[in-house]
C-alpha cells in the first residue's frame, strides 16, 4: 500500500437548528480556519482540498464555485465529491496515499435552515416512476423500517432504546444540536409521521460544518498534533431502485465495511473496535447498521442494545456524540462522525468514553434507505 494517512487537525462548530448570524461562506471559513489552527499551520502548508457538498442543499447550482475559497482552496488543487463528508475523507486518503500530495484539507457543511430538505430529497427521484409517488427521505426510510421490523420482529420499543441512548449521549456533548434526553413516555406520545416512524424516530435537521487536516505519514511529525491514523477505508453504493433491493438489510454498508476491515486488518469487529459513530437515518437504522457492520447476525441488532453492548458503558459504545438523532447537518454528518471518533481517540470528545479508545469506526451514508455508505477505521498512535 502507499503512504499512510493521519488526521492531525480538527475544526468544529456546534450543530444548531439555525446559525442565522453567519452566511454559509462564513461558517465554512470558520471551521477551516479552526482546523488549520488546531494543526498549527497556515493555508500555505496545504497542497490540496477535498470538499463534500450538495448543490441543491446549498441552493447554488455549482456550490463549490462560491464555497471552495472559504474552504481554503484559493489557487489550490481542489475537488468536490457529492457523497457525504465521510466520502471526502476516502477521496483525500487516496490523494495522499498516491504520493502526489502531502497535506489535505477536508471540508463539508450543510445549512438545513436555509433549504427545504424534504423537498430537495424528493427531487432526487427520477421523474418517471418515483417522483410522482412523492418519495423523499422520510417516506423511504419508513418503507425500509417497515420491511426490517416485519422481517425480524423488531418493535417500536427496540427503536426507543436507541433513541433514549443517543439522546442521553447528545445531552453530554456540547457540540450537539439536541441536548435534552428523552423518556419512554415522550417517545410513546410522539406522533406518527410515516408508519412505522414516529417524529422522534427521525433525526432533526441541523446547521453545521466541519473541517479536518489530513497528512501523509512522512509529514506527521512536521505538522499538526495528536495524529489519528486512518487504517481502513471502504465505500459502496447499491442500486437506485428500491424495488431491486431487499430492504431488510443494507448491502452496500456490508461491502463498505468489508473493504475497510480488510484494509485495516480487522477480523472480529466486535472485539477489535472500541467505539463507533453511525449516521443513523432513523432509530431503526442504527440496528440495521449494527448488522451490516458485522457486529451481529441479521435481525439481532436489537440484542446488542438490549445486552448493553452499545450503551455508554458497554463494550462497544455507539454514538457517544448523540449520533444523527441529535445532530443531522445532512451532508457533513459523516465528516462530523469521523471528527467525533478522532476526538474520542485523542481523548478530547465532549462525551468522552470512559476507557481509552484505540480503534474507532466512523460511518457516513447517502441516498434513500442507505443506498450508499462509507466506513472509515481510525487508530490511535
Amino acid at each position: 500500500m502507499g503512504q499512510e494517512v493521519a488526521i492531525v487537525g480538527i475544526g468544529r462548530i456546534p450543530c444548531e437548528a439555525k446559525i442565522g448570524s453567519k452566511s454559509l461562506n462564513e461558517i465554512i471559513f470558520q471551521v477551516t480556519r479552526a482546523a488549520l489552527d488546531d494543526a498549527g499551520i497556515e493555508r500555505e502548508a496545504v497542497d490540496n482540498v477535498v470538499l463534500a457538498a450538495s448543490d441543491q442543499l446549498d441552493g447554488r447550482a455549482i456550490c463549490s464555485m462560491v464555497l471552495a475559497c472559504p474552504a481554503g482552496a484559493y489557487l489550490k488543487d481542489e475537488i468536490k465529491v457529492c457523497q457525504d463528508g465521510s466520502t471526502a475523507v476516502a477521496m483525500a486518503y487516496m490523494r495522499l496515499a498516491s504520493n502526489v500530495y502531502d497535506v489535505s484539507l477536508v471540508v463539508s457543511w450543510t445549512k438545513c435552515s436555509e433549504t427545504p430538505v424534504l423537498q430537495v430529497t424528493n427531487l432526487s427521484c427520477e421523474p418517471f416512476f418515483n417522483r410522482p409517488i412523492g418519495l423523499n427521505y422520510i417516506s423511504t426510510a419508513a418503507l425500509q423500517a417497515g420491511v426490517y421490523t416485519n422481517s425480524f420482529g423488531v418493535t417500536p420499543e427496540d427503536a426507543a432504546k436507541v433513541i433514549i441512548k443517543n439522546r442521553a449521549n447528545g445531552a453530554k456533548n456540547p457540540l450537539s444540536h439536541l441536548k435534552q434526553p428523552v423518556t419512554a413516555d415522550e417517545i410513546k406520545n410522539s406522533p406518527l409521521v410515516a408508519w412505522p416512524l414516529r417524529r422522534i424516530d427521525l433525526p432533526p435537521e441541523s446547521d453545521s460544518a466541519c473541517a479536518l487536516v489530513l497528512v501523509s505519514s512522512n509529514h506527521v511529525r512536521k505538522i499538526g498534533r495528536s495524529p489519528v491514523w486512518i487504517s481502513g477505508i471502504g465505500w459502496a453504493t447499491d442500486t437506485y431502485y428500491l424495488g431491486s433491493r431487499n430492504l431488510n438489510h443494507i448491502e452496500s454498508l456490508r461491502g463498505a465495511a468489508k473493504m475497510a476491515y480488510r484494509m485495516a486488518g480487522i477480523n472480529d469487529p466486535r472485539k477489535e473496535i472500541g467505539l463507533i459513530e453511525i449516521q443513523e437515518i432513523t432509530a431503526y437504522h442504527e440496528l440495521i447498521n449494527y448488522e451490516a457492520l458485522g457486529l451481529c447476525n441479521a435481525g439481532e441488532g436489537k440484542c446488542l442494545i438490549e445486552q448493553g453492548v452499545t450503551l455508554r458503558d458497554g463494550d462497544l459504545p455507539v454514538n457517544l456524540s448523540g449520533g444523527a438523532l441529535c445532530s443531522n447537518p445532512v451532508f457533513c454528518g459523516g465528516l462530523i462522525g469521523v471528527a467525533e471518533a478522532a476526538m474520542q481517540i485523542r481523548g478530547e470528545a465532549g462525551n468522552q468514553a470512559n476507557r481509552k479508545i484505540r480503534t474507532a469506526l466512523a460511518h457516513g451514508t447517502y441516498g434513500f434507505c442507505g443506498q450508499g455508505n462509507t466506513v472509515i477505521i481510525l487508530k490511535g498512535q
Binding site: 453567519k22 461562506n25 462564513e26 418517471f128
Partner: protein, 154 residues
C-alpha cells in the same frame, strides 16, 4: 412507416431558499439602503480593499473586521452587452459591467445604465475598458445590491 412514440414527462423545480447574508453583507446592504454609501472590507494582513465585502480574506485566510467607505466614482474594468434573451433574466439589450470604485482594489459588477445601444459601433466607442463611471443610487432602496447602478461619465 410507423414512427415509435416517445413520451416526455414535464417537470419543474420550484425550490425556495433563504440565504443568510451574515454580518458584513448585511451591514453593506443596510448602509446602502439607509445611507446611500458603498462599504468595502480591508484585510489587515495584505491591505487589499475588497468589494464585494467579505468577512474573511481568501488569500491570507484571516478574518477581516474593518469596513471602509469607497468613492462614488471609478473606472470600468470590464463589460458586456447582452442581446440574447434568457428565461428569467432581464429583457435585452442591456449592459453589465465591472467597476473599480475609487479606493477599492477589486471590481464589483452591476448594470451600466443609460448607454445608447441603438448602434453597436457607437456604443463601443463609449463603452471601453478604462472609461470613467459614477454610481447612481436609486431613490427608493430596499437593501439589495440593485439599489445602485453605474453610469458612464460622459
Amino acid at each position: 412507416m410507423e414512427k415509435k412514440e416517445m413520451i416526455e414527462i414535464p417537470g419543474e423545480w420550484n425550490i425556495h431558499y433563504n440565504y443568510a447574508a451574515g454580518k458584513i453583507t448585511s451591514k453593506f446592504l443596510i448602509t446602502l439602503r439607509d445611507e446611500g454609501k458603498i462599504m468595502a472590507t480591508k484585510c489587515d494582513k495584505c491591505g487589499l480593499v475588497i468589494l464585494p465585502p467579505r468577512s474573511y480574506c481568501e488569500r491570507c485566510f484571516v478574518r477581516v473586521y474593518n469596513l471602509v467607505e469607497v468613492g462614488n466614482e471609478g473606472t470600468l474594468t470590464c463589460f458586456s452587452i447582452i442581446y440574447e434573451p434568457f428565461p428569467g433574466l432581464p429583457k435585452p439589450p442591456y449592459v453589465i459591467g465591472y467597476v473599480k470604485l475609487d479606493g477599492a482594489d477589486t471590481s464589483m459588477v452591476n448594470f451600466v445604465d443609460g448607454v445608447d445601444l441603438s448602434d453597436l459601433s457607437s456604443a463601443l466607442k463609449k463603452l471601453k475598458v478604462g472609461a470613467g463611471v459614477k454610481v447612481i443610487y436609486k431613490e427608493e432602496r430596499v437593501g439589495r445590491v440593485t439599489d445602485f447602478s453605474y453610469r458612464l461619465i460622459s
